[in-house]
């Protein structure tokens, strides 16, 4: 028989045993082959008693902030207003070194004049899985299009890793093949001609004579996403007798694709667009599609280019002239970078490698298009082990800001916008949740909120650049 005292003793010894093991364990755990056994006791103490046991958590100096963080600190928001309202009140400004100010203001004026000049300009939004699904880009795009004109979802490929986003739905038949820069490199040992996606879709006309893809604007997409009146397809190859048929509603048009050794584009109108457009290709040769753009009038297009699992855009792996050609065709003047998740996941080594790669790739981008400005969106706060901010994410943010300034880029601090240290946890407790339970990826609501904060920061820049408020409906 087990008397209650023996049961009590069993559990007492169990608790003492577990606690004792963790107290004897080194603070950063024990490495067992490739697995690290963490020490949660220390972390529990830190997250519950950090205000009292600060000796266990040596303070790491943050960047010297130009505006005080205190009001936006996630832990000190007053009860009188909601957390989100407080954050929106203290949205950080876009930062940049002084010598970039003139170029930035000129660019904003250029954008303000796009409608008058009857031109479009694409902005490329590169990022990791944080921007997947067009969750952040769509809101930003809507704001930019409301201010500067334009419509449509921008650029995409017939086959995407995430074919359904909050803006469009792409379906394609099985004929297509996708090639990314890494794969091409391994095979051909030459810098491949790839467009801005750093991958392209191949229609192997020599094997299958027909392929199609269809794009539908989601019925819940933001309004301007559906304002489409033309398409552009960027392709590369040597197609003989290739016919592209574009069907939208009752309109059906055919375009012959002409052979050309460099990047070429087809443009066609989509007047009376009713939500879906089909693209059919008939050819007997291989064609690479570098991008398809659905556009609506003069203004801005913000292209969502998520590179899941990547730490940076590998411009160095692409043919410079080819890339330059596409960037010119799209009239790109601004590129957004929003990376960080995968660098933090890579630990200390990831962070160190990131700085080197980031400088290198920014340098490559400058080689390709020296006049393009870059806006680096700093990494978000990421939670680890409870309320504690992952210190690696703080360090990464510091590196991103430093490199951005060194390389003459703009920088927007999304970490501060979220509320600073520990904000990931606070975002998680909001209703609806603004961040997913991994405390890393923003939820749909959180993505939209983050985008609206960035939009507010940009709007502030536009006004301070001297663009008249009457021209820019908020």
């Amino acid at each position: 028989m087990m008397k209650p005292f023996r049961v009590f003793l069993f559990f007492l010894l169990l608790i003492l045993g577990v606690t004792g093991i963790f107290l004897l364990m080194p603070d950063d755990g024990v490495q067992l082959y490739s697995f690290r056994i963490r020490n949660p006791v220390r972390l529990w103490i830190q997250s519950n008693f950090s205000g009292h046991l600060h000796r266990l958590t040596p303070a790491k100096p943050l960047f010297r902030d130009t505006i005080p963080v205190i009001q936006a600190d996630a832990l000190r928001v007053t009860r009188k207003e909601s957390f989100k309202d407080s954050l929106m009140k203290f949205v950080p400004s876009v930062e940049y070194p002084d010598h970039v100010a003139e170029q930035w203001r000129s660019l904003l004026h250029y954008y303000a004049g796009l409608k008058g000049m009857n031109k479009t300009s694409h902005i490329l939004h590169y990022g990791d899985s944080q921007i997947e699904g067009d969750r952040i880009t769509s809101v930003l795009r809507d704001s930019l299009q409301r201010w500067f004109g334009g419509g449509g979802p921008g650029l995409f490929l017939p086959v995407m890793t995430v074919p359904v986003t909050s803006t469009i739905r792409i379906s394609a038949d099985n004929t297509w093949r996708k090639e990314a820069v890494d794969l091409i490199n391994a095979r051909e040992h030459l810098l491949p001609p790839v467009g801005i996606f750093l991958e392209h879709c191949i229609f192997p006309g020599e094997e299958q004579g027909h392929a199609f893809f269809r794009v539908t604007v989601q019925h819940f997409a933001l309004p301007l996403a559906g304002k489409i009146n033309r398409f552009r397809i960027f392709y590369y190859g040597d197609p003989q007798e290739c016919i592209l048929t574009v069907e939208s509603g009752k309109n059906r048009q055919s375009f012959p694709l002409s052979p050309n050794p460099s990047l070429k584009q087809i443009t066609g109108n989509l007047r009376g667009f009713q939500g879906t457009v089909n693209f059919d290709m008939d050819a007997e040769e291989r064609i690479s599609i570098e991008g398809v753009s659905l556009e609506g009038g003069p203004g801005i297009l913000l292209d969502n280019i998520p590179l899941r699992g990547r730490t940076m855009v590998a411009f160095s792996k692409a043919d410079t002239a080819f890339m330059r050609c596409m960037i010119d065709s799209l009239n790109v003047r601004l590129v957004l970078f929003q990376f960080g998740l995968n660098s933090v996941a890579g630990g200390e080594q990831g962070i160190t490698a990131f700085e080197k790669q980031f400088r290198y790739q920014l340098g490559k981008l400058r080689e390709i298009c020296p006049e393009v400005l870059t806006l680096v969106v700093g990494t978000t706060d990421m939670g680890r082990e409870g309320i504690r901010t992952d210190t690696l994410s703080e360090r990464l943010r510091e590196i991103q800001r430093k490199v951005a300034f060194d390389e003459g880029c703009l920088f927007w601090d999304s970490y501060r916008a979220m509320g600073g240290r520990g904000s990931a946890k606070r975002w998680y407790t909001q209703d609806p949740q603004l961040i997913r339970p991994d405390y890393v990826h923003l939820s749909m609501a959180g993505s939209r909120f983050m985008a609206s904060m960035l939009a507010k920061a940009l709007y502030r820049e536009i006004i301070s650049a001297g663009v008249s408020e009457k021209r820019i409906p908020q």
């Binding site: 028989m1 087990m2 008397k3 209650p4 005292f5 049961v7 009590f8 069993f10 559990f11 007492l12 010894l13 169990l14 608790i15 045993g17 577990v18 093991i21 963790f22 056994i37 963490r38 949660p40 529990w44 519950n48 008693f49 009292h52 046991l53 009860r79 997947e132 699904g133 067009d134 969750r135 086959v159 890793t161 995430v162 074919p163 359904v164 986003t165 909050s166 739905r169 379906s171 394609a172 099985n174 297509w176 093949r177 996708k178 989601q218 819940f220 939670g383 680890r384 082990e385 409870g386 946890k425 998680y428 407790t429 997913r436 339970p437 991994d438 405390y439 990826h441 939820s443 749909m444």
Partner: protein, 506 residues
Amino acid sequence: MTEHILRTIWVYSESNPLLFTRFAFWIFLTVVLAGYAIVYRNFTLRHLWLFLASIFFYYKSGGFFFILLLISIVTDYTAGIRIAATNRKSVKHLWVWISLLVNLGLLGYFKYTGLFVEWLNHLPGINITASNWLAGYSNKLLHTHFDINNILLPVGISFYTFQTISYTLDVYRGKTEPVRRFTDFAFYVSFFPQLVAGPIVRAAQFIPQLKQKFRLSKDEFGHALFLILTGLFKKMVIADMLARTIVDKVFDQPSAYTALENLFAWYGYGLQIFSDFSGYTDIAIGVALLFGFRIPVNFNAPYKAVSLTDFWRRWHISLSSWLRDYLYIPLGGNRKGSVRSWINIMITMLLGGLWHGASIRFLIWGGLHGAGLVLEKIFFRIVPSLRTSRRKGRWFFRILVFHWVTFLWLFFRAGDMQTVRAMIYSVANNWNPLTIPEILKYYAGVIALLFIGYFFHWLSAQWQENLRGWFLKTPIWLKFFVAIVFVILLFQIKDTGFRPFIYFRF
């Protein structure tokens, strides 16, 4: 710092409730066992100690809502005594009605006011808001700072109200004697292992144990420990990891994911909810057994069911048997013809769905289960030979039932009907064969989790019993060692924040 530690121990914190998956709970359990070891021979003290511990546990889980628990306890204790004390039917009826009104009134107010107000506001000219008047009074009288615009659902209210109602009805029907001592009754209702998420323990199953001496054999202790460890594994390894890696993010925005990812989330949720709930129940049964009390099993490999009727005999057994005994049978059951029986099934399942949540989605979930049960009954009338237990195509029916049940979980988990539609659409349309190899590689961990979870679920009962039998036969020091290693490993994969048990929301 001392003040901080004391506050952490004694004061309720919404972001830090006392859950089975928290280390703090096991410290609490050890303290309760210490006190129990002193008082267990005296029944009055034993029940009083466990009642006080349970009230503290409830307070640490749900704050000041323990007052509602006390209201329910007092009401039904009094009702039980009064019903048994009189021979007059009218008085008996009166006390039954008082019990029903108080318990269902509390449940209805906290759970369904929002839904009721939402439906009312659809009528033209009506625009009312629900107000938490209890919070209002508390703020006024006790200077608290509760949000009066938000009616929070007290933890476990759906469970303990049903438990107390079943007690009163059983006393009324003469199935059980009333409990004379208040502490005994209070302990029966509030016993902390099963307080917040069941099982719903019937008086006939538990009350007799109040008069029995403590007994716990070594095998039973081993069984309790086995249940606790497997329950923690199911909850923290299977359920929480599935939620974190696939279910939450896909359900958050299904249209951003491919059909295959949506399917992973769908089947993942089926496994998550089973592992979460059955894991909780296993821990509850194991903890109760440590005190010498036996509470009934609540799950019996539900995804092995060969029919929907069989499924409802295996899933959340205490609730389905409660609905059968106190709703379906009083409505007439199957004694008034087939059509009436089908209507009774639909009513029972619709209300069963509504019990889970105040939303149209739960109504649809319950309604579809009801429709499935009715269709099944019609089918077996047409082909009665398939009704026998050893029937051909048993695996076919098993797979059919499993997929039907998994499909219906969509309504359970999706935050709103738009998500339901988006998910169905995504599964039907977002197939992209080119991305399948990449997805399979990316989600290798999720696939492994699904495989492990479903494999152990579908493992034959003999194999599961062999595993349990091996554990029971091990010496106590080996059990201790296994438990320590297990706990250390669990800490490695533990979620950073707190992830409550799914059925806590009901």
